[in-house]
């Protein structure tokens, strides 16, 4: 009885509010953790940018790029262990939350959600991609992931010089924007020391500027291009947390697609796959909260349902009782 009660309570929770508070606390933790000497290490699967000197952890891409840029014989020799340890730590962190790292913990993602909230307050319409645009854009993150991995390797074999160090960081908008959380605006500078760094930092600055316009208009604008999201997807099968769909119970009403910030069509269309997590997904669980069918969508930890869609929860979150009352009046 007790169990059912708790389950009902979870299923009926106001997800948006819960999520807001989790995101806020995570943002404080990762953007300002440094002030109270919090350090979760350097293998965190989110864009907790180390260029922000007060970060509470370090985005995994920073150490990864530095490690892969070691001379090839060092990298494949003794240093392989430290690379492996870094990767395993990354996986260990990732396995816990799966892509919910993006939806709940990433400060850069949270920033975009807040910009979206601002837009909403101002009453400006949001933008969407057409399906064809979506298909194309969602490939870009793999190109960025390739940049993260290939450029340091090329440095390691001596094809590229030191000015390519941390090449992805140089073009990453989080590098430009995150330090502003702690009042450091110096990343907006362009580095003229070499032609390469000039081009890379210029791209970074442009990307950061476009980020503001883009995320104002498009929900989670940057996440389509995020190489971390791509890296997550390659190992999402390992994760303990799963987003599952029961196609038999789906009526294809499309509510889940409408609330999806990432415009993932499969969430409504695909009634065959049970594992409905897609590469663009950020595991915000808004789809689960928006689903009006009992157990059609559910979030599992090790096959145990922790949060599933329900008629009751849907009615609660939509304020149906209030609506009905208004109808009566």
């Amino acid at each position: 009885m007790m169990k059912n009660k708790i389950r009902r309570m979870i299923n009926n929770m106001p997800l948006n509010k819960v999520r807001f508070w989790i995101q806020l606390s995570m943002f404080v933790l990762f953007a300002y953790g440094g002030y109270v000497l919090i350090d979760f290490g350097s293998s965190i699967p989110i864009f907790a940018c180390p260029y922000n000197s007060e970060t509470g952890a370090t985005c995994y891409f920073m150490p990864l790029q530095h490690q892969l840029a070691m001379p090839a014989n060092v990298l494949f020799g003794a240093a392989a262990i430290s690379v492996l340890v870094g990767l395993l730590t990354f996986v260990a962190w990732f396995v816990v939350l799966n892509k919910a790292w993006c939806g709940y913990a990433c400060p850069f993602g949270t920033l975009q959600d807040w910009i979206t909230a601002l837009r909403k307050k101002l009453g400006i319409r949001y933008g969407t991609y057409s399906q064809a645009q979506f298909e194309k854009l969602s490939k870009i993150k793999y190109i960025f992931l390739a940049i993260v991995i290939v450029i340091p390797l090329l440095m390691g074999v001596g094809v590229l010089g030191r000015e390519w160090s941390g090449a992805f960081c140089q073009i990453c908008p989080a590098r430009v924007i995150s330090p502003m959380f702690s009042g450091d605006f110096s990343q907006w500078k362009i580095d003229f020391s070499t032609v390469t760094s000039m081009i890379l930092t210029t791209i970074g600055v442009l990307f950061a500027a476009v980020f503001f316009v883009g995320s104002f208009i498009k929900k989670r604008f940057f996440c389509f291009f995020c190489p971390m999201s791509a890296l997550h997807y390659t190992m999402s099968d390992l994760s303990l947390l799963k987003l599952r769909k029961d196609g038999d119970k789906c009526t294809k009403c499309g509510d889940c697609y409408k609330v999806c910030d990432m415009q993932i069509k499969d969430i409504a269309d695909d009634v065959i796959s049970t594992n409905i997590l897609r590469d663009d997904c950020m595991f915000c669980m808004k789809c689960v909260a928006a689903c009006p069918e009992d157990d059609a969508l559910h979030v599992d930890i090790l096959n145990m349902r922790v949060f599933s869609s329900s008629k009751e929860g849907f009615a609660k979150r939509m304020g149906m009782d209030r609506l009905e009352k208004n109808d009566d009046r």
Binding site: A72, G77, K189, V195, A209
Partner: protein, 795 residues
Amino acid sequence: MVDFVKRDKNDIFNRPILGFVFKNKKFLLGMRIAVALLFFYAVFYGFMNPAKENIFTGAVFWVLFWPLFMLLTLPTFGRIFCGICPHGFLGKYITALGLKKTMPAWMQNRYIGIFLLIFGWWGAYYVFPGFLSSPLGTAGLFAGMTAVAFVLYYLYKDMSYCKYICPIGTMSRAYDKLSFTKLETYTESCKECKTFECASSCPYHLKPFSFAAKNHTDDCTLCMECANACEAVKFTLTKPAQILEKKFKALNAEVWAFVLILAAIPVAMTFAHGLERSTIAQEMIWNKTAAFFGMGEYGVGFAFMYAIVLSLFFAVLGLWLASVVLKKDFNTTFSTLGYAFAPLFILGSLGHTLEMFFVKDYATLVKGFAQAFGFAAEAVPLAKRGDAWLHYLGFLRWVGVIWTLMLLYKRLKLIESTKIRKIFGYFFASLLVIFFIGINIYVGYVFKVYGIKAAGHSHHMGGQSISQRPSFVKSASQPADDSSEVLDFKHMIKATDLIYFTCSDPRAGSRNSYTGGMHGGNPMAVPSQNVWLVYGENFGQNACIGQLDGALLLYDTSHTEKPVKTQSAQNCTAYRFDMPHNGYYTLFFHSLIAKENILHYKSAKLEFLNGNHGLADVYEPHKSQPFIAEKNKIDLIRLRDKKEDSFFYTHSSGDLLRFQALFDNKPLAHADIKVFTDTGWVKSLKTDSEGIAEFNIIKDYFPKWPEFDKRHKGMLLISLSYEDNSSGILNAESYAKTHYTLTYPLFFYPNEDEYKSYKEGLIFALLALLLASFIVYRFRKNRTKPFAEVRYDEK
């Protein structure tokens, strides 16, 4: 599925030993694991030992895998190497875990693999001889291909990598047709089958039950999954190249592979390694072309290009002329007759390869394995160059020519035409063969008439050396080696000379020898630093001090005295110390020289900041505080700035430096301080009443922009001097005055403001912001344009 079948006599699965070798699941798995381990170990070994001394990596790939596993098996048993190839073996599992997408149409192109083989490998092999076949190049190549293969296996289904991208995939598929084996099924038994286990078990998504009827085996790599899934699969012995005697669905890519490989290997080898050795090499057209373009050293690369162009020319021209006389369209003629060129390369190269194996490569192989697995082995080559029986192997090339001509005859039978047309067609189609015979005879002719250059035979294994990190040899067991010519320290150094520490080797021209940080090799090892003591009248004229007359003291981060290792070479001594912790390591040196009634107390100081990344390396402010040695008569303390809040602090031009001079641990007022830079700038200062002097580091680095280096090290030397009237006797020389000097070196980088700019960044950002906003605005305006409303006046 068929449970039992009465096998033919010539079914290999019916043979006691061969049947086990080719079909037994456990044996095949064992072979695959062994080959995969060997493959990855060789790659790993190549990265670990990139120097030329590593013969193992080369031996595995260029003695074992390519000649023995590929060239020897392809015209005999077929693509059996593909069946145990590490990529395919692991790829099967990766595909099972992977995304199983369909490979995009543009990648489903066998020419990708062929071009990778011909230009990516062979082209690069001729243009940059030695690099790709060096241990590091080999390991890098195979590591890279492995990474590509695994990514593609992960993404795409049905082992598409093997079919389209693998450089030797299409090649194996093509030459497999010469073999005397064929995988097919007992078609009689198959008739009752409704379940098609052979097809469903095939990782390549092929249909083995159709092989017999189709008369070829598609992309089958002989992995024998089907044979283990159904008993009706057979692996028969046939006549060599039996497939080529009948019609089958030809693939133009295979014919191009035959021609291009013939061009890239035997023809180009004949040019680049044959004619290039003759005394008239410079007269050859490729060397003349290279000289014409002023790229004389790339003659061999041009030879490769000529080989490709000439071979393609004769192949295409010949087959086109044949198509004209046979009155058939070019495509049909090309794909039908082109298959005859198959034996031309493979038998020719096999002869050469086997000869090299007996003469040299066998010994290399044994030595390589002995090197890698650490056992002792004496390898004697199986034959000496010039042994009579080796010449028989050379005949294999002519066997290849004869076989080609025979195949051409058989393939010609498949084309319908009149007899007289076929005779002319035969002649034209064999133009490539005639060209091949021609260049072989021509080489013999050139060698006979003009002779061979003195230089030896250059072979695959000749790699250029890849420089390794120089390793520092501790000199504990090896005393100063120049004992014969020890220079007299006191006479060498003049009274006015500066003695100071430097972190860069004064013998080498290099300025940069900072080895702190995590990139200095083994991350587990304790980082260490070399320093040298040098002297000179001016800063920058570093003459190295070979033998020391004075005291050298090292204090670590916790201010305790530590030993210093020394190594002398070429009359120059390097001092090396370990830096187990982060923080400042301080070195002191002082010596006494009495000259002309003056005692010169010369001392040098170095503060070296070690910074390492690591969890244990937490910055604590007290660790950056200067160390004041009480033993030192005279000292110069650099007062720390508030900005210095990490172990990675560096000085940059524009920084304010503050020093306090101490004498007998008391502030030294009104002492002379001189500041030098390595560019020749000098500044004189006096300490104030508290012994403090301060100055800004100047900017003296003005390169043209593209040559700007933000890690350019500017060198500073601060020297403190002071004189008092203490007198005494040193080494039987009395003095009335004492002159104290202390030097303190420091390096600095260009200031960030010199190369980083807000202005451009903000302008660009603003422009991008405006442009993006404008685009969004325009875009929305277009979309929200109200419909032109049509109104009717209803009055």
